[in-house]
Symmetry: C2
Subunit: 198 residues, 2 copies
């Protein structure tokens, strides 16, 4: 099969929501001539932060997530402002969510980016690696954000991911202030970090 890009015939009405915009477009296969409708979600680019404390523990945040309606354990992350460098955006999100800043700003590395979901989302998610961070600032959260900062030894990360994947598959909702390390973008970030440090 010789693949060809689909042709965009018609853009639907853009519905603006709080954290994304939604549009249904009409597209046409250049191979078969067949037309179809596709859902597209327009999101800002995001950034993930892999940061280790002086005790060599990965910095994590626990928060209630509205999609899963569960608590979730993740790495600091957020949206990149339009035109903002992902490294700058990542360090901004890190400081806001946790109060931690890099010991050596020159040591921060952009590990790369991935598509959160190429099937229907247009954005990219970058991952940055901050080898050493310290608590130098107070948290600076939005009025509706509630974020608990924690950290876990580097040697326990694989076990935490295995546990998250197993319990997420079992469908057991975490209770109380529990939470799983089972957000896909965290597993992506830690994979990119392993590929970098391997």
């Amino acid at each position: 099969m010789s693949l060809l890009p689909f042709e965009e015939l018609e853009a639907g009405e853009l519905m603006q929501r709080r954290i994304f915009a939604l549009r249904q477009d009409r597209v046409k296969s250049q191979r078969t001539g067949r037309e179809t409708h596709v859902d597209r979600l327009f999101c800002p680019d995001w950034v993930n932060v892999v940061a280790f404390t002086a005790a060599d523990e990965l910095l994590l945040v626990r928060q209630w997530r509205f999609g899963s309606a569960e608590f979730s354990i993740e790495i600091p992350a957020g949206a990149v402002e339009p035109g903002e460098d992902p490294v700058v955006g990542g360090l901004r999100e890190l400081a806001e969510e946790t109060g931690y800043t890099p010991d050596d700003p020159g040591a921060v590395v952009l590990l790369g980016a991935t598509r959160p979901n190429a099937a229907f989302m247009n954005n990219r998610c970058s991952t940055i690696f901050v080898p050493r961070v310290s608590k130098t600032l107070p948290q600076n959260l939005d009025p509706t954000e509630e974020v608990e900062v924690l950290s876990v030894p580097r040697a326990e990360l694989d076990a935490l991911m295995r546990q998250g994947a197993r319990r997420c598959a079992a469908g057991a909702a975490p209770t109380a202030t529990d939470g799983l390390l089972d957000n896909s973008l965290v597993l992506v970030a830690l994979h990119l970090w392993k590929l970098h440090t391997a």
Copy 2:
């Protein structure tokens, strides 16, 4: 900070789209009493398939993606039917997209599941591992699907992921029938596979 689940005050109108439904809900912090609106996307559960050929090559699919408006190199994947076992759903998607089936159905492993995006999506994505597959059937695609099957030696996977993350970060759109291995859920699946085989 002692975290508490947010309370759901009011569910908005459900807007049904082709591959998901969208709703804006009103929620309330039990800690501060503050109310806010949240976007929620209701999606079917998904499944990812990590499968190796007799030549020990990872089975991949290349297709045009409407979200990124680019070609993308991914592993076979799709939506799980309501009530369907993720292993059954994964093998169904594998057969439909590629015509490959497991040499030993008893050797198929559910590696776990993750949240594609806990922040605003309600679903889970499982990953299954099929140690050995062979081409036994023709492709069986939807009329609007155009999928090219390829495979890559196991030893080249890390390089392909590094290249994808670097080029995705650089923002260079792949041209023609090119495509990057840069879809987050593929990096998740290969991370879970590494955690399993480590």
